[in-house]
């Protein structure tokens, strides 16, 4: 960012130093320009007048830092190319207060740019070539002084053409340079974006077309492009999760179809729920579908989850995709406690088996990466009753037997985990028992509490 305030900075060296620090060579007067001049020498009016001829730059939200970086580049390139040109007079090198230039407002941007480029050109000739080269290389803004000074000099016909040229260059550059404008993607804005994308089709959604459809002037193609990139990657993530959940649900369905003994879970979306975890009062069935939808994506207590984004994106793009995700619509089964707790119980069953430390609300995507992992699935119903796989049934049967109960190793692993990392949060978050009553009870049973030295 600009380290220099737009206020008058009479001290050139100071500014040079500042510019050096900030890396914002906007105002850098190189210290080798030791001229005695003051602000008064500069005819700003003339300066602005000149530059108004050129392109009028749109007033966008600009990050001045970015612009100046661009300018610097231009100035550098300009300067280096022109070092051996005309020898400007001393007047030209009057250190224009870069006040106007420094002003980070969009209007002046082009002027600054122009100034820099011009300055670069001018300065090259003026100073020693090495110095100029250095200055230009380091400090495109050095030339600013020269350029601005130049503007007050009528004798630079060549310079005015150069000026026009560089101005043109700079203005076109700066409009591109503004591509990194900070855009605040409000929900409304994002909604329009998504609408536009959907209209075009996610694959065909090209930033320029999106921009057209959205019809918002303050957005640049680049803003859209980067937002689109993020959106696409987010979608992929959602889709992956959805696919996993869907396949999980299908297995569940197969089981439910085959099981029949328990009518409580006829729906297929049971497994969509596990992430909700164990809220003692289960949410009401009907608002639930939407919540189900959003919830699994909202990792409970997961710090990186952007909850403000979650509700927006998935429903937006998944809902319009219609019935594809099978787990969306069906409301939870009537027996809510069972519904909520049962899958929850099973869900976390995967947690320890995968050696992960307890997480209260396992995500379907995270937790069911390979649902039919043999031997690790505590509930047998995940063995799919795939009718076509009859030949392999025997193997599956064998595996099924094992899966009825969690393996000793997995339990051992989980326990070991708890023992070694006592700081981990409780997987279920049950209300802890009162120490006193436990102690009392133990005493009654004749047990001393101290963690026993040996089992």
């Amino acid at each position: 960012m600009l380290a220099v305030s737009p206020a008058l900075c009479p001290d050139i060296e100071e500014r040079a130093g500042v510019a050096g620090d900030a890396g914002m060579e906007v105002v850098g007067m190189s210290s080798d320009m030791e001229f005695d001049f003051s602000v008064d020498d500069i005819d700003f009016g003339d300066f602005f007048l000149r530059l108004e001829d050129g392109d009028v730059l749109p007033d966008l939200e600009v990050d001045p830092a970015e612009i100046f970086t661009d300018f610097e580049a231009i100035a550098t390139s300009g300067g280096e190319g022109v070092q051996d040109q005309e020898v400007p007079t001393v007047e030209l090198l009057a250190p224009t207060e870069d006040v106007g230039v420094v002003d980070p407002c969009g209007d002046v941007v082009g002027e600054e740019n122009a100034a820099f480029s011009e300055a670069g050109e001018e300065k090259g000739g003026c100073n020693h070539d090495e110095d100029a080269a250095e200055a230009n290389a380091d400090d495109g803004a050095d030339g600013a002084a020269a350029a601005e000074a130049k503007s007050s000099s009528p004798s630079s016909t060549t310079s005015s053409s150069q000026e026009a040229e560089s101005r043109h260059k700079s203005s076109s550059k700066s409009s591109q340079g503004k591509k990194k404008a900070k855009v605040d993607w409000t929900p409304e804005l994002h909604r329009r974006f998504v609408q536009a994308v959907e209209q075009l089709g996610i694959d065909k959604a090209v930033p320029s077309r999106i921009l057209e459809i959205m019809g918002i002037d303050s957005l640049t193609r680049h803003n859209i492009a980067s937002h689109l990139q993020k959106y696409r990657s987010h979608r992929k993530h959602m889709i992956a999760r959805e696919v996993e959940a869907a396949s999980w649900t299908q297995r569940r369905q197969i089981y439910a179809a085959g099981g029949g003994a328990v009518a409580k879970r006829p729906e297929s979306n049971v497994w969509a729920v596990p992430t909700i975890g164990f809220p003692p009062p289960p949410p009401p069935p009907h608002p639930a579908p939407i919540q189900h939808f959003g919830r699994p994506l909202h990792v409970w207590g997961h710090p990186t989850m952007d909850s403000s984004r979650v509700p927006m994106w998935p429903p937006r793009h998944l809902v319009p995709r219609g019935p594809a995700p099978p787990w969306v619509p069906p409301p939870p089964s009537p027996s809510d406690p069972a519904f909520w707790h049962h899958p929850y119980m099973r869900g976390p069953g995967h947690v320890p088996t995968q050696g992960t430390p307890c997480m209260a609300m396992p995500m379907p995507a995270a937790r069911f990466p390979a649902p039919p992992v043999p031997g690790l699935v505590p509930c047998p119903m995940y063995r799919p009753l795939t009718p076509q796989a009859l030949a392999s049934k025997n193997q599956q049967d064998a595996q099924l037997q094992l899966q009825v109960q969690p393996t000793s190793e997995s339990i051992d692993a989980a326990i070991g985990d708890v023992l070694s990392k006592p700081w981990l949060p409780l997987p279920l978050g049950l209300k802890p028992p009162s120490v006193d009553s436990v102690m009392g009870e133990l005493q009654r049973q004749g047990v001393a509490n101290v963690p026993p030295a040996c089992g």
């Binding site: 328990v262 069972a338 047998p380 009753l385 009825v404 969690p406 978050g429 009553s437 047990v447 026993p452």
Partner: protein
Amino acid sequence: MGDSSSSASYIRMVHHLIEKCICFNLNKEECMEALEKHANINPVVTSTVWKELEKENKEFFETYNKDRAERNIEAETMQRIQKMLSDAAASKGSDDDES
């Protein structure tokens, strides 16, 4: 012997372990056994903490136990069905083999 803070932390640990076991759908007895086996915890302690937890979290345990019961039924049913299917497959397979 154990001062109160170490007792408290011990109890907390046992609580944590019990929760882990619940994640594995173990019942109280299984839990006692597992904790004793893998963590050297006196089953009496496990049992006591479990009971206390149950008192504090009645609803949870009610559902948990119900679920377990259901699950067992389901498992049984599944096994029966699996058996039926495998029997069918076996007979079908033998048909295929023969032909």
